[in-house]
């Protein structure tokens, strides 16, 4: 059996910053290009997010099988579950890999909402997206934090409400540039999908290395 690691994206960010919605937005874009995904959602106190994604993406739109949207409880330790002891997540990923290594292109792991020091264990995720939103003002990303500084892609969400908060996107952009040196960041509105195409492009380029979807490769092989 040719067992190849399926690329994995970790998505972290503060509670309610839009992790689930971002997934709901970019999975259809990847799906349009033929990429097949699986989603593991680490919820802190419920399985609401997993249930919502299963309904929206799997049951209603058929973009992935219902069984590939999996909710995981983290015992109240969302950061531990993706960083110092990702055992449960890794087990679930390996179970998925064993079943789907010929057709699945990407595994997405949503961390439970947490504080700004979250990072993903490299043993769990190959690519780390950190998502913040403008609702706590424009002081982030200047305040830094491991997630904001070290992630592979910083997503700044909810730009539609910036005027109501008095958050200056220009300030956030300049700070993001300084704090992240040359690493990329994207402004998005997950309600409308604005900017999400760019997130999908980063994933295709930096995670999937522009390889065609596995189902396409296998068909022509």
């Amino acid at each position: 059996m040719n067992h190849k690691r399926i690329p994995r994206i970790g998505i972290g960010g503060p509670v309610g910053s839009g992790k689930t919605m971002l997934i709901e937005q970019f999975v259809p874009l990847l799906s349009q290009k033929g990429y097949k995904t699986a989603i593991i959602s680490n919820d802190v106190v419920s399985k609401i997010d997993a249930d919502r994604m299963r309904k929206n993406l799997a049951s209603e739109r058929g973009l992935l099988p219902e069984s590939l949207v999996i909710g995981l409880a983290t015992g109240g330790c969302p950061h531990t579950a993706v960083r110092e002891d990702p055992s449960m997540n890794i087990s679930v990923v390996e179970e998925i890999e064993a079943k789907h290594n010929t057709d699945l292109d990407l595994i997405i792991i949503e961390s439970g909402g947490d504080n700004i020091t979250t990072t993903f264990s490299p043993a769990l995720a190959d690519y780390f997206i950190y998502i913040i939103d403008v609702s706590s003002g424009d002081k982030y990303p200047r305040k830094r934090g491991l997630g904001i500084e070290n992630c592979d892609l910083l997503v700044i969400n909810k730009i539609d409400i910036a005027p109501y908060i008095g958050a200056d996107l220009k300030v956030m952009e300049n700070d993001a540039k300084v704090v992240r040196k040359n690493k990329p960041y994207v402004f998005v509105n997950c309600k409308t999908g604005q900017g999400v195409q760019e997130v999908a492009e980063h994933i295709i380029k930096d995670v999937l290395f522009e390889e065609p979807p596995k189902t396409v490769i296998n068909k022509t092989a």
Partner: protein
């Protein structure tokens, strides 16, 4: 102090390593139904939590998990993979709640994965998935292969038995690790549910030390054919917890 007279061995440090709640097995994600008891308001006092853990130890973990661990540790010493797989299957079938079964096999698999990564036989995608070249493998690697090929489940107590064996941790001590680790994980869950302050947690652990010893004594020499577990009240509770909509813990 004269280093030469130091009465300590590497094996004892290994025991601390496996017994540490920092060791990555994901055990902090389970409460064994305590969360359901908490939300149903059926457990309030420190004494009741202590009683809950004690019942789990005496009627679930002792005669099932502890006996399974002990026998798999023994079987590992004679590289008897067949018996190990038999015990693994037996114990798996005794875990009546799906999410507890799953959590146990996930913890077990990751425990093996981790231990194999530092005892020289580092698993790589080649040697895990390539079944040739099996001859010179240690029993712990063969068991890991059996899990990957779905010929074994990889429940936690068996994994701990094999890991302890390979790290020269005695059977008695391995049983202690199992029961102590369980106790700590439930107390940890209770603390995160805000059931009592941190000192009380340590008081509970302290008060359960004699129970842990007694349970080991009763079950360590039991044959695996005589394994049992009987705590229907807790089973029902764990099943109802599995179905709770809003929860912090897997079970």
């Amino acid at each position: 102090m004269n280093i030469k007279n130091l009465d300590l061995t590497i094996d004892e440090i290994s025991m601390l390593q496996l017994g540490d709640s920092f060791f990555p097995t994901g055990m902090y994600t389970t409460s064994s139904g305590l969360e359901a008891l908490f939300y149903n308001k059926r457990i309030k006092s420190k004494e009741q939590i202590s009683e809950f853990i004690s019942v789990c130890l005496k009627y679930q973990l002792g005669p099932a998990d502890c006996t399974a661990l002990s026998n798999s540790h023994k079987a590992a010493q004679s590289s008897d993979l067949k018996t190990i797989i038999e015990i693994d299957d037996l114990l798996f079938s005794m875990k009546l709640v799906k999410e507890i079964r799953e959590a146990s096999t996930r913890s077990g698999t990751q425990l093996l994965n981790c231990v194999l990564s530092f005892i020289n036989e580092t698993p790589t995608s080649e040697n895990i998935y390539n079944k040739d070249n099996n001859s010179s493998k240690s029993v712990i690697s063969s068991y890991f292969d059996a899990i990957k090929s779905k010929d074994a489940h990889g429940v936690y107590p068996i994994a701990l038995g094999l890991a302890s064996n390979v790290l020269n941790i005695t059977r008695e001590r391995a049983c202690m690790l199992l029961l102590y680790g369980f106790t700590v994980s439930i107390v940890g869950a209770a603390l995160r549910l805000g059931m009592f302050p941190h000192f009380e947690g340590q008081q509970i652990i302290h008060s359960l030390k004699p129970v842990i010893l007694e349970v080991i004594k009763k079950n360590i020499d039991r044959a695996h054919s005589k394994m049992w577990q009987f705590s229907p009240g807790i089973d029902i509770l764990q099943i109802s917890h599995e179905r709770m909509d809003s929860k912090m813990f897997i079970t």
